[in-house]
């Protein structure tokens, strides 16, 4: 700048106009413009818009009136404030310029429900004092809309000029809505045919209108109740009432030349949109007593007579109120509430999720929902909690100790802020929206309207995030923290949750043993130790996480045991204090997997693993074996050495099961990881056993272990046995008898070491798949295997060898054994017809005989219809027949063989998929059963808690669906088996 006097447009820019050039032009065109006007504009939420609107109104006004408005400081300031806040009301004033005058004289206090009712009734030409006011105006709908907006302008003046509180503004809006409903009813009356049967009709406000906490723009929720009058026939009277109700809905909701008010929504009525629009009081009660769902009672919390027959409205509310307060006793209340919660979260379109004020975790709906839930749970025994208004209810919950005072106050402040923000967003266009706009211009306007003057956009976002953060912790604050107060030894005189109320609440949150839970809470939080202090802070959060799992009671008990074991270790306390992801993961494990929880409680320090995703990635087989080798070398003592190996296994099983429960692994990864751990354990154990047995021998034999069955296929589950065969080869010149004795001793010692009772879980070695089964020798020499398979082998044994794979011991011996197996399992030219027939017969007989008595074949994962055996036999039959010319079939993996067979055209792709799906499903059910119960079982649990937990672990919400899904998938696989295996 060169020191010239500042141009007016430069001055305007400094005073907050974003387009000073346009502003200057507009000001010049307005004769009554003054420095005071510019000052008012510059203080307003949006100077440019306000000026633009003002120019439009000025053009429509005569000069005298305009001067009148612009020269009266109060009128001018109020008008500018309204124009800066709402484009829609600015347009209203431009259409009716006379109404832009005198806004400065709007009183700071709302003139009362009676006043607005009378005003709107008179506007439609109805007598406010008549028992049934009836409209007489020529165009009553237009008249209603204009009069309503006039009153709305008044409300906005109180809101943005006089700074009325959120409570007052939203209550005034509800009064306005009541008055409009009354006027709409007057219009509907005027449209009735003269011979209509007489009736009494009451309009009950529900939702935000019922709670007198209405928005500027939202649907107004209502329910209609009617009764015949003067002995009229009920059917006829209801017909009249239905006419009135539809007339009222039209009078308010229809778009006319003057636009519309809002939609009247009667969907909360019994049976929703399918139900009759109008019912008698008795019919309402009949429905609520028999059919209503939990959410309907929650909605009834807000019922309030709004218009029409006052006495009938009161009678309705008095009759339904007792029902509301017994809702928490109903069957399925907890499940309903949880389902309702999920719906609240699920309904947000993803792209708006982070700008939504209303829906989603931490949204307004969440606050309202949480408050209402506490009202339903505690309001039955405490009449002080029954207000239909969210903020009032919140305050009484705090006053009477159901939630903490500070938490109550913080949440109330956040709720007020978010609702006010929502008001200002809606005011701009008078549109029903709950999404914070993204453009800076709108954000600036909204921020300034809330009184933020610096960088309005930045400050607004900061405020919003700050309050949202508080709201997001609502469950911790409202539901759980007060539970701790119930068990704390506080000064008498401080209001807090009584033990009875605490039990009610725990039950409502899904704890089945609330008394036990309170005892644990007391133990965990008592005292002045650092641990108790940290646990007091963390438990409210943990309790919520526990409640999201299927077994919150077990989780709380598990946590108590964790705390007893680790409570004073600094790193554990740090882990808890930081509320890390580790704490949340621990909560989820404790509440959904007995298997993982047991492993954790055997050695609680493993909880540290949960802090880090890298720690939850399964270790490779190489690193596990290296670790086992080192452990064995380090300990000369067999007991110590095997303890190290088994400790390693326990730690890895926890790692895998934890990652599995937390959804970090797929089925393939779980099987591979479990197989790797078993291999490292067997290999480590074998080294110890060999050292023990052959320590003094001059010529020790070579010794090898062949994995068989699922172990050989690298398909282990949590509950699988480890199938093996043992082989040895005497050193040249060694004594045969001595060598054989030593080899047998090695095998026995290995089995003993892995089974010795200890804090680490045992590993059972099963050698029943060896030649001649249990009748045959436990250990054979290489030569003996060779002789046996050259002479005897049945198709069944060839089939078992398909999954034979050397896993531990002497590598050379393993390879030589494999050479012995190959011609048996992959016979040249394929299995003979006779062998195939024999296999089919054997399978058919097993189906008839191997299923345990009483077991349901449709749910038995191993021997049942379409279960593991069915699928595996298909794969193995294909391998025996075709592995000689399809090299890919020479695999120990079931799925690998099936996929290769499909690629080679031996199976159709859809058949292959049906088999694979069933096999994987049976596998994951078996794994989930072990994770849930801690022990293996062969059938899908068919009812009860086990089924619920298994379904939860498999991400299936309705337990019956799991059974359906399992039966369906395996039925389809069985169809394939019948065709492919038997034909």
């Amino acid at each position: 700048m060169t020191g010239r006097p500042t141009t007016p447009s430069g001055a305007l820019a400094r005073r907050g106009f974003l387009d000073p050039v346009a502003a200057e032009r507009l000001l010049q065109s307005m004769p009554a413009a003054s420095e005071e006007l510019v000052e008012d504009l510059s203080r307003s939420a949006d100077p440019d818009r306000a000026l633009e609107h003002l120019a439009g109104i000025a053009a429509a006004m005569d000069r005298r009136s305009l001067d009148g408005v612009l020269h009266d400081p109060d009128d001018r300031a109020a008008l500018v404030a309204v124009l800066a806040t709402s484009d829609a009301l600015a347009r209203h004033l431009a259409r009716h310029p006379a109404r832009a005058r005198g806004l400065g004289r709007v009183p700071a206090a709302h003139r009362g429900a009676g006043h607005v009712r009378a005003t709107l009734l008179r506007a439609v030409g109805a007598d406010p004092d008549a028992p049934e006011p009836t409209a007489t105006a020529a165009h009553p709908q237009d008249a209603l809309r204009v009069a309503y907006r006039d009153l709305l302008v008044e409300a906005v003046v109180r809101d943005v000029v006089h700074g009325a509180s959120f409570e007052d503004v939203s209550a005034e809006l509800a009064d306005l809505a009541d008055a409009a409903l009354e006027a709409g009813l007057a219009i509907a009356r005027s449209e009735l045919p003269p011979d209509s049967a007489p009736c009494r009709l009451a309009v009950i406000a529900m939702g935000k209108c019922g709670g007198r906490e209405l928005n500027y723009v939202s649907d107004v929720d209502v329910i209609f109740v009617a009764e015949p009058r003067d002995g009229a026939d009920e059917t006829e009277a209801l017909r009249t009432a239905t006419r009135l109700a539809t007339g009222l809905m039209r009078a308010c909701g229809e778009a006319t030349a003057e636009g519309e008010l809002w939609q009247v929504d009667a969907a909360l009525r019994p049976e929703g949109k399918q139900g009759a629009l109008v019912r008698t009081l008795a019919s309402h009660l009949g429905y609520y007593e028999r059919w209503a769902r939990t959410w309907e009672f929650q909605a009834l919390l807000k019922a309030r007579p709004a218009a029409g027959d006052r006495a009938l409205g009161e009678a309705y509310v008095n009759a339904v109120t007792p029902l509301v307060w017994s809702a928490a006793d109903r069957d399925g209340f907890v499940a309903d509430v949880q389902a309702m919660r999920r719906r609240v979260e699920e309904h947000i379109p993803a792209k708006e999720a982070d700008r939504q004020l209303k829906l989603g975790r931490g949204g307004l709906r969440d606050v309202e929902f949480a408050v209402q839930l506490l009202q339903l749970v505690h309001g039955r025994s405490d009449v002080m909690l029954r207000s239909p208004t969210t903020l009032v209810a919140l305050e009484s919950l705090a006053t009477w100790g159901y939630i903490g005072r500070e938490d109550g106050a913080t949440l109330a402040a956040a709720y007020r802020f978010l609702r006010t923000l929502e008001h200002r967003i809606q005011l701009i266009e008078l549109r029903r929206t709950h999404v914070v706009p993204e453009d800076d211009e709108s954000l600036r306007r909204i921020g300034r309207s809330l009184g933020l003057r610096g960088d309005a956009v930045e400050e607004l976002m900061e405020e919003w995030r700050r309050h949202a953060r508080e709201v997001r912790r609502i469950h911790e604050k409202l539901f759980y923290r007060p539970l701790l107060q119930a068990v704390a030894r506080l000064d008498a005189g401080i209001a807090r949750l009584t033990p009875e109320a605490a039990e009610q609440r725990l039950e409502a949150l899904g704890y089945t043993d609330p008394v036990g839970a309170l005892r644990h809470l007391e133990a965990l939080t008592a005292g002045v130790s650092r641990r108790a202090a940290i646990q007091r802070t963390l438990l409210p959060v943990l309790l919520g996480w526990f409640a999201e799992g299927p077994d919150p009671d077990a989780a709380l008990l598990g946590f108590r045991r964790m705390s007893d074991a680790l409570g004073s270790t600094p790193w554990y306390l740090r882990l808890l204090r930081d509320e890390s992801v580790a704490a949340e993961r621990m909560a989820r494990l404790l509440s959904s997997s007995r298997y993982a929880a047991d492993l954790l409680l055997r050695a609680p320090e493993a909880v540290a693993m949960l802090a880090d995703d890298d720690e939850l990635r399964p270790r490779t087989r190489e690193s596990l074996e290296a670790e086992a080798d080192v452990a064995v070398l380090r300990h000369d003592d067999a007991t110590a050495a095997i303890a190290a190996v088994r400790g390693l296994r326990r730690r890895e099983l926890f790692r895998i099961s934890a990652a599995d429960v937390l959804g970090l692994l797929n089925e393939d990864e779980v099987m591979t990881a479990l197989t790797d751990v078993a291999e490292a354990t067997v290999s480590g154990g074998l080294q110890v056993a060999v050292r023990e047995v052959t320590g003094g021998m001059a010529l020790p034999p070579r010794f090898a272990i062949i994995a068989m069955g699922r172990f050989g296929g690298s398909e282990l589950g949590y509950g699988s046995d480890v199938d093996v065969m043992f082989a040895y080869d005497p050193a040249p010149g060694a004594d045969e008898q001595e060598t054989a004795t030593a080899a047998l001793a090695i095998a026995n010692e290995l089995r003993r070491l892995l089974m010795v009772p200890s804090t680490d879980p045992p590993l059972e070695i099963d050698a029943d798949l060896r030649p001649e089964g249990r009748q045959g020798p436990l250990v054979r020499s290489l030569a003996s295997y060779r002789a046996y398979y050259e002479r005897w082998s049945s198709p069944w044994e060839a089939q078992a060898l398909l999954r034979g794979r050397p896993v531990a011991g002497d590598v050379g011996l393993g390879a030589e054994l494999a050479e012995v197996f190959d011609p048996v399992r992959w016979p040249a030219g394929g299995a003979s017809d006779e062998d195939v027939r024999e296999m089919r017969r054997l399978k058919a007989r097993m189906e008839a005989e191997r299923l345990p008595r009483g077991a349901d074949p449709t749910l038995h994962t191993k021997m049942g219809r379409g279960g593991l055996a069915d699928v595996e036999w298909v794969a193995q039959l294909l391998q025996l027949r075709h592995a000689h010319d399809v090299p890919g079939l020479r695999t120990t993996s079931t799925l690998g063989a099936l996929r290769v067979a499909a690629d080679a055209g031996l199976l159709t792709t859809s058949d292959e998929e049906a088999l694979e799906r069933a096999w994987l499903l049976a596998t994951s059910v078996r794994n989930a059963v072990v994770l849930a119960r801690g022990v293996a079982a062969d059938s899908v649990p068919s009812s009860g808690r086990d089924l619920a937990i298994v379904a939860h672990l498999m991400d299936i919400r309705v337990t019956g669906d799991l059974l359906e899904h399992y039966r369906r998938t395996t039925r389809r696989a069985r169809g394939v088996v019948e065709r492919v295996f038997y034909d």
Binding site: Q274, G286, E289, R290, D331, G332, G854, A855, D856, T858, S942, S943, G944, R945, A948, T959, G960, L963, E964, R967, R968, R971
Partner: protein
């Protein structure tokens, strides 16, 4: 305790009810009843009454046999027949698992599930059954197979047992809240037909279970015997249960479209097409006995070929003559069902097949205008008419391959039903019938 349950308990007190029968239906459609003393009822309302599910056809296996029967107080009715009076009432039950969730084995739940799937599409399903049955002079074992009269279709038989029977039966049905639309003597000797008023499918199915029992009771009081066996006489018509079905969207009949051919909406046409496409696979349920197929082979009005026709009584699906004043009564008549089916399962499958037609927008083939029985096999082939399964065995094989039936019945009922019917067929195959002895013994 809710009002309805209170009402039941009060009525029991006031009317001196000594026993309450709790009713439910097994997978094959047999009514099961357990009597409880009024004192136990309060507990049954709250938690259900425990019973051993393994004793009921198709409910549970031995190791998971605990189930709960939870009476529905809305179905409370005092039983009006003399053998039960004074003081016996009944209620229908839902069958629950021990954890309180519905049991997949309960046929009522199968139908409820299917109805709620229809509700998700905005439809409610209404049915109106015409139940045929025979009145015989003697109960099985008490005398020869002999009808009570030799009247025929619509015969007015003023002094006959049949006339008295129908009057008393209808009075009793009405006393239990079941409205009768129509009743008359049917075509066979001693054969009766009683048509129930249309109602939602679940109510109709409950009513049919009551209906069969009422007929048996009234017959007993009059010294005769009522049988729902599909085909007791070789030379007289079998007992069918033609059922008129319609879908409503709210108050509007979704089958009706003014101006369309036969006033049938696109929804109706696709629904019929669904019934036709899936007819073979649902027949094992709509016609579930070995004997059912003797009725289908009987000619006349029994449908044996898969086709539809406007007012054609030989077609599987008949579209009745349209009455211009009654747009809301547009409906289609399914003629394969017999009176001995399980109405819960059969209605669930009709609905599922029709909905499938709607969801997949099946095209409706041209209707049949001739008497289908009079066509030659070649003509029928030329018109693209497939036969319904000829025997229970064929029907089972069609059903076994059906995803639609498996999904609708649920895997548990599907599996049980197939196994049970396979066993029935195996048993039947081993029979040596009088027909064989007559024909072969003297000549071979």
């Amino acid at each position: 305790m809710d009002k309805q349950s209170d009402f039941v308990l009060r009525t029991i007190e006031e009317r001196d009810i000594r026993f309450v029968r709790l009713w439910f239906t097994d997978v094959l459609g047999t009514l099961k009843s357990v009597a409880v003393a009024p004192a136990e009822l309060e507990g049954a309302f709250a938690e259900g009454l425990g019973f051993d599910g393994s004793a009921i056809e198709g409910f549970a296996r031995v190791y998971e046999s605990d189930m709960l029967a939870k009476p529905d107080p809305a179905t409370f009715a005092v039983l009006p027949w003399r053998s039960e009076s004074p003081g016996v009432a009944r209620m229908f039950c839902d069958i629950l698992m021990p954890d309180g969730t519905p049991s997949y084995a309960d046929p009522r739940w199968v139908l409820k599930r299917t109805l709620s799937r229809a509700a998700d599409l905005g439809f409610s399903f209404y049915t109106h059954p015409e139940v045929e049955f025979y009145l015989l002079k003697h109960a099985p074992g008490d005398g020869p197979l002999e009808p009570i009269d030799h009247y025929g279709y619509f015969d007015n038989s003023p002094q006959s047992i049949g006339h008295d029977f129908r009057r008393q039966a209808i009075t009793m049905l009405e006393a239990m809240g079941i409205s009768v639309e129509f009743s008359h003597h049917e075509g066979g000797p001693g054969q009766q037909e009683i048509d129930l008023r249309y109602a939602d499918a679940l109510t109709t199915a409950d009513n049919l279970m009551t209906f069969r029992l009422v007929m048996k009771e009234v017959a007993l009081e009059q010294g005769v015997y009522a049988s729902f066996m599909p085909k007791p006489f070789r030379d007289a018509p079998g007992s069918g249960m033609h059922t008129h079905v319609s879908l409503f969207e709210g108050d509007r009949n979704a089958f009706h479209e003014p101006g369309a051919p036969y006033q049938l909406s696109k929804v109706a046409r696709s629904f019929i097409a669904g019934l036709l496409v899936h007819a073979p696979e649902i027949t094992a349920v709509t016609n579930q006995w070995v004997n059912s197929y003797k009725r289908l082979a009987g000619g006349g009005e029994a449908p044996a070929w898969i086709c539809w026709g406007h007012n054609n009584r030989s077609a599987l699906i008949r579209v009745p003559m349209y009455k211009p004043t009654k747009g809301n009564s547009t409906r289609v008549e399914v003629r394969s069902l017999d009176s001995a089916c399980n109405p819960y399962l059969a209605y669930a499958l009709l609905l599922a097949a029709g909905l499938k037609g709607i969801e997949e927008s099946y095209d409706l083939p041209p209707g049949a205008e001739d008497d289908v029985w009079a066509l030659t096999p070649a003509e029928r082939r030329a018109l693209g008419m497939r036969p319904l399964p000829l025997s229970l065995n064929q029907a089972i094989q069609e059903m076994e391959r059906s995803e639609l039936v498996a999904e609708t019945l649920g895997e548990h009922v599907f599996d049980f039903f197939l196994r049970n019917k396979q066993a029935e067929w195996e048993d039947y195959r081993r029979q040596v019938t009088p027909w064989e002895l007559d024909r072969y013994l003297s000549t071979l």
